[in-house]
């Protein structure tokens, strides 16, 4: 059982090597899909067998790796990690399914995505700082090439911006990691990168403050929090559809995951001290980027801004120091993963068919692609937190919990929810309805527009069914997540 987790993490990497060696298009596609499905099933099995009543990490494996530096291969999952692993493995199945018709250098494309999957699964499972950083940085190279090689017009600019921003954040994260490891060494004479070893320390306030800021900068860039968010709209706009899906659904969660896994338990006093700062940044992100979203005419850029806004809700809930809010924040990570994936798939599909992301070029699409119109609507509703879908439960819990301790902040942030309904419905109207904007020329071109194909529908079903499941029957998921929240909040 313990080794199943490692198997799930490294199976995609193995697949990546196979794909790179064999270099057969069909083989690459179906092997990727097959491997990601097996990984999903393994994670599902682990999820179903997860003991949410027990404290701490489960399915742990620990093997000495670089003993002279106190580094070990140590993986394991708690409630938050297993939920994110489940979401991640599902999103990758969908990404591969969606990409079945990729024609441009498919072998490299699938090899990079498989490598990326290992990095993503690894980040959520690592219990050793070094291992964590290895996976954290491991996603950089595949994602860089995915944006740079398969992106749209300004792909090079976007890929570079993505790389430099993320690398900038990561180095500070590394410095933070190094500083607490060295502190542990000075205090105990034992050099160790082990997360659980460091969890038993209570660091002095000055170190907590410094390390919180160093870690925080790394996480903030990845989330991304305002004002270090500007790489995200560019990266999203230029990335290919599956790249955007993985970026929004999985990579952005690494930052918020980092806050819950590392910042809160390791630096509890500094976390409390910095609540006003984090709240300020979160609320600015929620409202400012929602307003930016309203101003967009490019659908992918709009969805990107909405992602930043939603991630603001996650950071708000994370630092509200309340069980419900933290549950909601973690729930939001999973829920946003699903809804943003569905939204980017919709946008990507529109681009594939119409070759434009601009609302002015799109009005009246609903008549020609009705299946997409329905699924796009559901995806959007999932995104804005419509009752019955996953986002609602998450937002409800976040605001409920935040309101208890910080009513004013909660109220201000709540405005963002209203704005999110505004920008989505406005966008939906302009893209799907407004038939009067269709010119004769466009009508002629669209008459034979092909609606969703089987692999698209299957992708949507997997995501949307999960969003409904999480929205209608949240109890078991909340229970699993709460296992982490209780522990993080010290109860």
């Amino acid at each position: 059982m313990e080794n199943l987790l490692s198997l799930a993490i490294f199976l995609p990497l193995l697949g990546s090597l196979l794909v790179a060696i064999v270099r057969k298009e069909k083989f690459s596609k179906f092997l990727s899909l097959g491997i990601s499905s097996v990984v999903f099933l393994i994670v599902l099995y682990l999820f179903l067998n997860f003991d949410w009543s027990a404290q701490g990490f489960q399915y742990r494996t620990k093997v000495d790796w670089i003993p002279s530096l106190g580094i070990s291969y140590h993986v394991g999952v708690d409630g938050m990690a297993i939920s994110l692993l489940l979401m991640t493995s599902l999103v990758f199945v969908v990404a591969f399914l969606w990409s079945l018709k990729v024609e441009d250098r498919p072998n490299l494309y699938f090899a990079l995505f498989l490598a990326l999957e290992t990095a993503c699964l690894g980040v959520f499972s690592a219990l050793d700082f070094f291992l964590f950083y290895l996976f954290w940085e491991g996603m950089l190279i595949p994602m860089y090439f995915i944006i740079g090689l398969w992106g749209h017009d300004r792909k090079v600019y976007a890929a570079n911006k993505f790389f430099v921003y993320t690398f900038f954040g990561s180095i500070f994260l590394l410095l933070g990691l190094a500083s607490i490891v060295v502190y542990g060494y000075i205090m105990t004479g034992k050099l160790s990168f082990d997360y659980l070893f460091h969890l038993s320390f209570s660091y002095p306030m000055i170190l907590q403050t410094a390390a919180f800021l160093l870690f925080g900068l790394g996480f903030a860039v990845k989330i991304p929090m305002w004002p270090v968010h500007t790489w995200l709209p560019d990266a999203h706009v230029e990335a290919p559809t599956a790249g955007s899906v993985v970026l929004a659904a999985v990579l952005l969660k690494m930052g918020t995951f980092g806050f819950v896994r590392y910042s809160l338990p390791l630096f509890p006093d500094a976390s409390k001290y910095f609540i006003p700062l984090i709240f300020f940044l979160s609320v600015v992100a929620i409202i400012y980027t929602a307003m930016m979203a309203i101003a967009q005419t490019h659908i992918k850029r709009l969805i990107a801004y909405s992602s930043i806004s939603h991630m603001g809700v996650v950071t708000l809930g994370t630092f509200a120091m309340d069980l419900n809010a933290l549950n909601g924040a973690i729930y939001m990570m999973v829920a946003h993963g699903l809804s943003s994936a569905a939204l980017f798939m919709s946008a990507g599909f529109i681009y594939d068919r119409v070759h434009s992301y601009h609302m002015d070029d799109l009005g009246g699409l609903a008549r020609y692609v009705p299946k997409l119109a329905v699924l796009f609507m559901i995806s959007g509703l999932a995104g804005i937190g419509f009752p019955g879908l996953a986002g609602f439960v998450a937002e409800f819990l976040v605001f409920l919990g935040t309101y208890k301790n910080f009513p004013v902040w909660s109220f201000i942030a709540g405005v963002g929810v209203v704005l999110s309904a505004a920008y989505f419905l406005y966008m939906y109207k302009r893209v799907m309805f407004e038939e009067e904007t269709i010119s004769e020329y466009r009508l002629e071109k669209w008459r034979h527009l092909k609606d969703l194909e089987a692999h698209h529908i299957l992708s949507f079903i997997l995501i949307i069914a999960s969003a409904f499941l999480l929205g209608l029957y949240p109890y078991p998921f909340i229970k699993v997540i709460e296992q982490t929240s209780r522990y993080v909040l010290g109860g």
Partner: protein
């Protein structure tokens, strides 16, 4: 006389003599065989390391072997052998196959091998000169090429300044301590400090640290590319293995830290900024070497076992990555008309996916992206600096590393994400080059995943 201590150097010397004699009696058509034979000589020395009993001293205590400098020698021999394996085809394409090719790198390596074992300034001087003179000639070996000659000349002139500084430093050292042997000397008189300044400057010049770096970009650019690979890897490893051992005699001086920090900060920031202005990838990598000299010098800013272990790990792996990168450049240079201008690298990935991927791998390694082994080195340096509470230096290291990412990325962008305008004839990778590239990339990746294989061998 304890000959056992000198076995690797003796094997190397005999090998050089053998190659030299064979060279006298063989035709031009045998040069290929000769170059393979010369590449095997360092391997024989490498094997002979197993028979050295250490720790021990020889040559009236001028020469010392211990676990650390034997490891340094092992790395030196491996690198030299890889350089020799990779260079024959390049010279053939350049129509510049000369007899000296086979034994000059061996001579330099012999010098460097003695250098890491030096316990006395006299031996240090002689061995450094033996290494340097070989390198001056190697740099200017493309006789028909003006750039190569200019590079050799410049290297010779500036190198001589280094030699003078070393000589003067040795004189001051003798004047203050009464001996040329390295020994603990606690009296902080100004003569001793001056000798420290001059000795450090001379070694910093060889390590291409700012402000002694002026020869580096020109020599690197003008030298035959496999020789650039040699310059950027073999002497660097030897120097830092030596510096780590010398550190114990000087670090107690207050000025040591100030000087080293200054050299390192200047190198990191100057080189990382100037690298952005480069249009030639070969020159860009030369500036990257200068920046790395800055990173490496951080490792000798003060005595701390973690810091020095990390430094030696880092510099060894850097040497392999750097040799790999320059070998790749020399493979590409075999295309007629290929100039290393950034534009020539455009769209390389489409033409040569494997070569472009390997170069990207080495460049990512320079940035310090895991799982490449240079990341472990950078991490170790970070930790060492934080551990010794040199936080400003750690922070400067971080900032410099971030700055450097941009120019490496530009090369990667050119190769992968841009369309090529010029068309060059295809190039072939010779067996030797393939071996060098394969081993360098394997070391860089495998030792990133299993760093303890080397880390645990570095005993300080």
């Amino acid at each position: 006389m304890n000959w056992n201590v000198l076995i690797p150097e003796l094997v190397l010397s005999l090998g050089i003599l053998l190659v030299f004699v064979l060279d006298l009696f063989s035709d031009k058509k045998h040069y290929r065989a000769l170059s393979i034979l010369s590449a095997l000589v360092p391997i024989a020395s490498l094997i002979s390391l197993l028979f050295v009993q250490y720790p021990a001293k020889a040559l009236f205590d001028l020469f010392e072997v211990n676990a650390l400098n034997l490891l340094g020698k092992a790395v030196l021999y491996m690198l030299t052998s890889l350089v020799l394996f990779s260079m024959h085809d390049y010279y053939k394409k350049k129509d510049s196959v000369y007899t000296e090719l086979s034994y000059l790198p061996l001579l330099s390596t012999l010098g460097l091998s003695i250098l890491v074992s030096s316990k006395n300034l006299l031996l240090l001087f002689v061995s450094l000169e033996l290494a340097s003179i070989g390198m001056y000639v190697m740099v200017s070996l493309l006789r028909g090429d003006v750039l190569s000659k200019e590079a050799g000349y410049k290297y010779l002139i500036i190198g001589s300044v280094g030699t003078s500084m070393l000589a003067l430093g040795s004189v001051f050292y003798y004047a203050s301590t009464g001996t040329l042997f390295f020994r603990e000397y606690r009296d902080e008189n100004s003569l001793f400090m001056l000798s420290m300044l001059l000795l450090l400057s001379a070694l910093a010049l060889k390590a291409s640290a700012v402000p002694y770096h002026f020869w580096t970009p020109d020599a690197y650019e003008g030298a035959p590319t496999p020789i650039t690979g040699y310059l950027s890897s073999v002497p660097k490893v030897a120097l830092y293995f030596l510096l780590v051992q010398l550190l114990g005699y000087f670090y107690h001086l207050k000025q040591w830290l100030v000087l080293v920090a200054l050299l390192s900060l200047l190198s990191m920031f100057y080189a990382n900024f100037v690298a952005y202005a480069q249009r030639s990838v070969k020159r860009l990598l030369a500036y990257s070497t200068i920046a790395h000299a800055g990173y490496f010098l951080l490792g000798i800013s003060t005595v701390d076992p973690y810091l020095q272990k990390a430094l030696l790990f880092y510099v060894s792996l850097y040497a392999f990555a750097s040799l790999g990168a320059f070998t790749l450049l020399s493979v590409l240079e075999k295309k007629p008309g290929f100039s290393h201008h950034m534009l020539d690298y455009r769209g390389l990935f489409k033409e040569h996916p494997v070569l472009a991927s390997l170069l990207a791998l080495f460049l990512f390694a320079f940035i310090g992206i895991p799982p490449m082994a240079l990341f472990v080195g950078k991490l170790g340096l970070f930790m060492g600096l934080v551990n010794t509470l040199l936080l400003p230096l750690a922070l400067a290291f971080v900032v410099a590393s971030i700055i450097s990412a941009g120019y490496y990325l530009r090369v990667i962008v050119s190769m992968f994400l841009e369309e090529g305008e010029k068309r060059f004839p295809p190039t072939k990778v010779s067996g030797g080059e393939a071996l060098t590239l394969l081993l360098c990339s394997l070391f860089v990746v495998l030792l990133g995943i299993f760093p303890h294989l080397l880390y645990d061998l570095i005993r300080i």
